[in-house]
């Protein structure tokens, strides 16, 4: 009869014996690996020595040739082959996805993606209008207007980009150019459109890119490129910008100041500017707007970015002059306005994150919501200018089901308060909800489906609702 204690001892001994054998095997494997590494290192040294010797011989030959004031003589195919080997090879660039231009320090990269969108719209924004291809709040038909149950296919969001990077004593020189095909609103017309074209040296950037007012990392991950109702408009414009990083309380931060291209969009009483005829369809984007070519000052921007490990938060401010000149009478009006935008992206659990934007301003409505939703200011029949107060917000949560599947839920709201004399068919309030499910089986491909519910309310209380289901396929390179 074997006692339990004795049996346990035996088990432990057996276990330790097995462990000892495994350790011995591992030791032997380590020894074999070490001797193999040693052998490979010797071979590597040998190869390097040969390369150095070959290089010296080449330099020596060239020197002799120069001394003799005669071109070097290459004999046979072997010499030609050696010559080919001397040519600089294309090497990996200094940033991801780039290669170096031979003989220079400049790294260049090309990339982009193809994206096809299929949109089932509960109501159409009208023939060849952008509102059928992306969310354009001001184009949501009101009342009974608009074709019901419309479908649109397009690949206009497909993009091409080029970038370069050159280290320099003044700071890195970067350039970036990006195009898509939204140049023409007609659904089946593919005109290239310049999205970004800028360069930067060190902290100084000049060219067309995202407005400083927008924290682009806070934009929700929607299939719809138009964006959420309450987000700051995805506006790209020409600008000059200085960015200065610094650390405060162990937190990486950055301040930015910029001068940006001004452009105002005003509502003008038709009595003041008689050439402005009423839109043929007042339920659609009202034709009461003018974009005066009277800007005197650039839009002034300032922004503070906090970049802690858990995400980023930015506070941006814009100051701008809204100016109007009547082409016929020479009548002029100007008013200074501005706004602030608090935005950020905060990591929550795993890869999940929350994105938000909150903004308020007077005279900055062109930065609010999707493009051309509200006017910056209104002019009454006597020409008195009054800035429009606009405000809104957006909240989006991104959840990763796993590394391949993710979903986003986004809600946005924006409103503009017009003076009482403004036409009652102007858009006063917009809201949108986006919910999607996106699948990326590999990092270069994405398939997704998204549901959008968006409402547009006019000053007179009438409203329009758009429901949309969008399928997208995106392939990057």
């Amino acid at each position: 009869m074997v006692s339990p204690v004795h049996a346990a001892d035996e088990d432990i001994k057996t276990l330790l014996k097995a462990l000892s054998q495994q350790v011995t095997q591992l030791q032997s494997q380590v020894d074999r690996s070490n001797s193999r590494i040693e052998q490979l290192e010797q071979e590597l040294q040998h190869v390097r020595a040969e390369q150095v010797a070959a290089g010296k011989a080449s330099v020596s030959n060239t020197a002799h040739a120069v001394e003799a004031s005669a071109p070097p003589v290459f004999t046979g195919s072997g010499a030609a082959s050696d010559k080919a080997k001397e040519k600089a090879a294309v090497t990996v660039g200094d940033v991801k996805g780039t290669f170096k231009i031979p003989g220079t320090d400049t790294s260049v990269g090309l990339g982009g993606f193809v994206k096809m969108d299929t949109l089932f719209n509960s109501v159409s924004a009208g023939r060849d209008r952008i509102g059928d291809q992306q969310l354009a709040m001001a184009q949501i038909p009101v009342g009974a207007a608009g074709e019901r149950g419309q479908i649109a296919f397009h690949s206009k969001e497909s993009r091409l980009w080029f970038k370069s990077f050159t280290p320099n004593t003044w700071g890195d020189v970067n350039t970036y150019v990006e195009l898509d095909f939204f140049g023409d609103p007609a659904t089946y017309t593919y005109t290239p459109r310049l999205r970004h074209a800028y360069g930067s040296v060190g902290h100084f950037l000049a060219g067309q890119t995202w407005t400083t007012y927008l924290n682009v990392s806070a934009l929700p991950d929607t299939l719809d490129v138009g964006g959420s109702a309450g987000a700051v408009s995805s506006l790209r414009q020409s600008l000059v910008r200085w960015s200065e990083p610094f650390n405060w309380l162990d937190t990486p931060m950055e301040w930015q100041v910029a001068l940006e291209a001004p452009r105002s969009r005003l509502w003008v009483d038709s009595a003041l500017e008689t050439s402005l005829s009423k839109s043929a369809n007042p339920n659609l984007d009202a034709g009461y707007y003018t974009t005066p070519n009277a800007d005197r000052y650039p839009d002034l921007m300032a922004r503070l970015n906090l970049n802690p490990d858990w995400g980023n938060v930015s506070l941006a401010a814009v100051g701008r002059q809204v100016r109007y000149t009547n082409g016929t009478t020479g009548y002029r009006q100007a008013e200074w306005g501005g706004g602030i935008n608090l935005a950020g992206r905060i990591s929550t659990f795993g890869l999940d994150n929350m994105r938000f934007m909150v903004h308020y301003g007077k005279g900055d409505a062109r930065y609010v919501s999707t493009n051309n939703t509200f006017a910056d200011a209104a002019l009454d029949q006597h020409g008195a200018i009054e800035l429009v107060e606009a405000y809104g917000g957006m909240l989006s949560y991104q959840h990763w089901w796993d590394k391949q599947w993710r979903s986003n839920l986004t809600y946005g709201f924006a409103q503009a308060d017009y003076p009482t004399y403004a036409n009652t068919v102007l858009t006063q309030q917009v809201q949108s909800v986006h919910a999607n499910l996106l699948w990326s089986p590999v990092s270069q491909a994405m398939l997704g489906v998204e549901y959008t519910y968006a409402t547009r309310e006019l000053i007179d209380g009438r409203d329009g609702v758009l429901q949309r289901v969008q399928f997208s396929a995106k392939y990057s390179f």
Binding site: L19, V23, W161, K163, Y176, S217, N307, L351, R406, S443
Partner: protein, 157 residues
């Protein structure tokens, strides 16, 4: 008694959370009931790598903004690797308390040294912004973890 020591060793070395960044840290719990420090940091490494990979899905940032984000994550990966390498020293410092025999000590030290060296390499890659090489480096680290688990985790169970 020796089994206890081996269990302690398993607790210290266990769970470099090889499969999933949100890994279950049970296998990596120390005797205090908390996840082993190196398991937590390795988990952080994988999470940062996944964050960097997720940048491929960004459509709105320009490529240069993405490069800035990649550099940020790369810096954080470098810091995590540095901390993990320092943690290996702590593990080695505990070796005398474990009362292992000569062969076991050799194995322990070999694996710890390998892990430390791989962490240093990873830190170097991250600091030099060699982003494309980081996944391979993480894979090597996982192999080291798996080797360790194959030797010791079974006994701890």
């Amino acid at each position: 008694m020796k089994t206890l020591y081996l269990s302690a060793l398993v607790s210290i070395l266990s769970a470099c959370s090889q499969n999933n960044q949100y890994a279950h840290l049970e296998g990596g719990r120390s005797q205090t009931g908390q996840p082993a420090l190196h398991a937590v940091r390795d988990n952080r490494l994988h999470e940062l790598m996944d964050r960097m990979d997720s940048l491929m899905q960004e459509r709105f940032m320009t490529e240069q903004q993405l490069d800035v984000e990649r550099r940020k994550y790369s810096r954080q990966i470098g810091e995590a690797a540095r901390d993990l390498a320092a943690n290996v020293e702590t593990m080695i410092a505990q070796l005398p308390r474990l009362q292992l025999n000569a062969v076991e000590q050799t194995t322990f030290l070999a694996l710890a040294g390998k892990l430390r060296e791989e962490m240093r390499q990873l830190q170097q890659l991250a600091e030099q912004n060699h982003i494309d090489a980081i996944p391979d480096s993480l894979h090597e680290i996982n192999t080291t973890c798996t080797s360790c688990h194959a030797l010791f985790r079974k006994l701890g169970g």
